[in-house]
């Protein structure tokens, strides 16, 4: 809005002209009414830098992916919150035309229209919605939660030069990986730049998770499990009940750790949304991770069943480059030490890498000791090569609160009496205080 010189109280303009400009100006003021900073998310006021930076980022998202309807919505929300009501309305106008099933977009647009004549500081809380049914109230709350989750996580993850500890390193065979941030209701796609470099954020999407907050423990507890999982298969639209939308990727919950801990339940999937709906509230599934159908289609090319990791965490641990380098070096160093001690034929040195709590499909620690001692006796040499190494810091410390890392790798083994190449293996390392990292699980992938 242009400002009018308040000092020149009487200005010698022609009467008619002044009158019309007076009324137009008054209308302008009325129409550009209150744009609440607290609308949708109480972020306080967004400062101008954040506003221009986030608008520019959203613009880039839209240039790259024109079906990124979330970017339209966020643009509209940020414009509205920062006082640019007309611009916000224009964005929402386009969005509701392009994505007519996006219920949240309609709600925001209607709110913006209402804001011209009423103070609208909470999503869906306008006089026009004063008398709605109980069911509609619930719907409004669901949409409100969704708006808040989308905007909050977008603002929270503005700077992304950090590396998730949950996705430290991806092996050469793993081109892309999925990371789910339960706190922020965000699903990230990371790509592997190769050569031992840190995974790079490629895209991110809004995701709905279990109705209840917390780590899944038992069947039907409506929680999304936290852990390092892998996509097992793909189910197409035609093979799925309606509620899963256009496709689904079953995960390997319960994994070896979950089973070891006696956790129950099954069928944790990454899937789409019932076609009657555009999106779902942030906490809405029975434990699965749900995307919109459009986003599921976008994610599909990045997922290879049998290979792609899906790490689900309540809260992601972010590392700067230094921290990441340090931890990577430490973990790879540990693996190398284990490998060398294995080759050394010194069973005691080799077995010292295993935790007393070790478990696997075949052995506990005692059984492992007797087995390995017997095997080592028959060896005159052993050669082991580890390749294609992926490192995932476990999202939660499920075992005695001690940090844990999942390592996936390909192992070539050769000795005087046995040889096996290309074995795909997985070990869990656990940090045992002063003793450093120990193998607590060893098995196939």
């Amino acid at each position: 809005m242009k400002s009018f010189p308040t000092t020149s109280r009487f200005i010698g303009l022609l009467c008619a002209m002044t009158v019309s400009s007076t009324v137009v100006a008054a209308q302008e003021l009325a129409l550009n009414q209150i744009s609440p900073a607290s609308y949708s998310v109480d972020t306080g006021s967004l400062d101008d830098d954040v506003i221009s930076q986030s608008l520019a980022r959203l613009e880039r998202r839209l240039q790259i992916y024109d079906r990124d309807y979330e970017a339209w919505l966020l643009k509209g929300l940020i414009l509205f919150k920062s006082g640019r009501t007309d611009d916000a309305l224009q964005e929402l106008e386009q969005l509701t035309q392009k994505a007519p099933k996006f219920h949240l977009a309609h709600l925001v647009k209607a709110d913006i229209l209402q804001s011209r004549y009423h103070v609208v500081d909470t999503l869906g809380a306008t006089p026009a919605l004063a008398q709605v049914t109980k069911k509609q109230q619930i719907q409004i709350k669901r949409l409100r939660d969704e708006a808040s989750a989308r905007l909050r996580s977008y603002l929270a993850t503005m700077d992304h030069n950090l590396i998730p500890a949950q996705m430290m390193l991806l092996g050469d065979s793993v081109k892309t990986a999925v990371l789910v941030d339960k706190d922020n209701h965000r699903l990230y796609i990371y790509e592997n730049p190769g050569n031992g470099a840190a995974p790079r954020l490629l895209r991110d999407f809004y995701a709905s998770t279990g109705k209840l907050i917390g780590d899944k423990r038992v069947r039907d507890d409506l929680k999304t499990p936290e852990g390092v999982y892998f996509v097992e298969s793909y189910m197409s639209d035609a093979s799925l009940p309606d509620k899963y939308g256009v496709g689904a990727f079953p995960l390997n919950y319960p994994n070896e750790l979950d089973t070891h801990l006696g956790q129950t339940g099954y069928g944790i999937w990454l899937h789409g949304t019932d076609k009657g709906y555009f999106s779902r509230p942030p906490l809405d599934t029975e434990g699965c991770v749900a995307l919109t159908n459009i986003d599921l289609d976008e994610v599909k090319p990045y997922i290879k069943p049998g290979l792609t990791p899906v790490v689900i965490a309540q809260k992601i641990e972010w590392l700067d480059t230094m921290q990441w380098q340090q931890r990577k070096r430490q973990l790879l160093g540990k693996l190398e030490q284990w490998r060398q001690d294995w080759e050394s034929l010194d069973a005691d040195r080799y077995l010292s890498h295993y935790s007393d709590d070790f478990w696997s499909k075949r052995f506990n620690k005692q059984a492992l000791i007797s087995y390995k001692r017997a095997v080592f006796q028959g060896k005159s040499y052993q050669k082991i090569r580890l390749q294609d190494i992926s490192l995932f810091t476990y999202p939660t410390s499920k075992l005695e609160d001690r940090p844990m890392v999942v390592v996936n790798f390909t192992q070539d083994y050769e000795s005087n009496n046995f040889r096996r190449h290309g074995a795909r293996k997985r070990v869990y390392l656990q940090h045992a205080g002063s003793e450093g990292w120990k193998l607590v699980y060893e098995g196939g992938q």
């Binding site: 008054a26 003021l29 744009s35 006021s45 006082g83 229209l113 004549y117 039907d220």
Partner: protein, 313 residues
Amino acid sequence: MAELSIKKSLLAGLLLLVPALLPAQLPADLEQGFARAMAAYESGDMPAAEKIYRGLIEDYPKLPELYNNLAASLVAQGKSQQAIKVLQSGLRSHSGFASLYDNLLDVNASLSRQHYMQALVPVKQVSLRLQSTSLTDLGELYYASQPPLQIAATQPEPAPRVAVKTPAQKPLTTVAKPTPTVTTKLAQTESLADDVPPVMDMESQVKAALLSWAEAWSRQNVKAYVNAYVKDYRPDSNISHAAWVKQRQQRLKRPKWIKIKLDKMEFFILESGRVAVQLQQSYQSNTYRDVGRKEMLLRLQDGQWKIEKEHSQ
């Protein structure tokens, strides 16, 4: 914090208006009042400015500038909702624009209503794809927290189910209500493979059948109760039809009174016209009460919907 920033941004962008008349034409009290209000505003004494403008408006109710500036001093005090009202009366004070403004309001309101409707009425589309499925499958599908992994691993034949969710229903209390008349114009044969009635018809008929079943139970009318089931109904292979009837007779007659309430029904249309219903059943008698989820399978027999299977969750 939020509140402060609103004030600031609005103050920064406010338009203050000046009287449209030439100074010579202004009445003296208006000119003076205006000067005092402007001074108060500029010195930041918004309540004083507000008071002066309110006084002036009483004397000069047709000057939009006064409403505008009053609104500005209200907004500066954080009284946004009041400011909107003042601006609206300001616009209405100018007869030429009053109707334009009202129309604008109407158009705007109806547009926003439309969008609210679209936001809040998510219509789930029912695409009728009848496929074979068993009650067990269905139970697994909807009651297990998630489908079993085997489905994923083996990539089974496509087996989409049709889930017809009814909108929020009122509980169907059946005590002391007349029996609903079930008018069936359905195929008289049991097989409906090539004559499937429309979804909604099927749904309301099945609902009516369940309603009369619950009512028979509530009235402790054994004959009508048994009649709600398919001929020769047996809950499982360990019990004969006659033994089951006898057992039900005892159970129905023993309490002084029974009250059955069905709630939260969901209908699933299965193969050849069978319908599975999931519902919440509350049982109440003088001796016992309980509420539980139940799953019932109904099929047409001689043109009537009959219970073929039932089990509690």
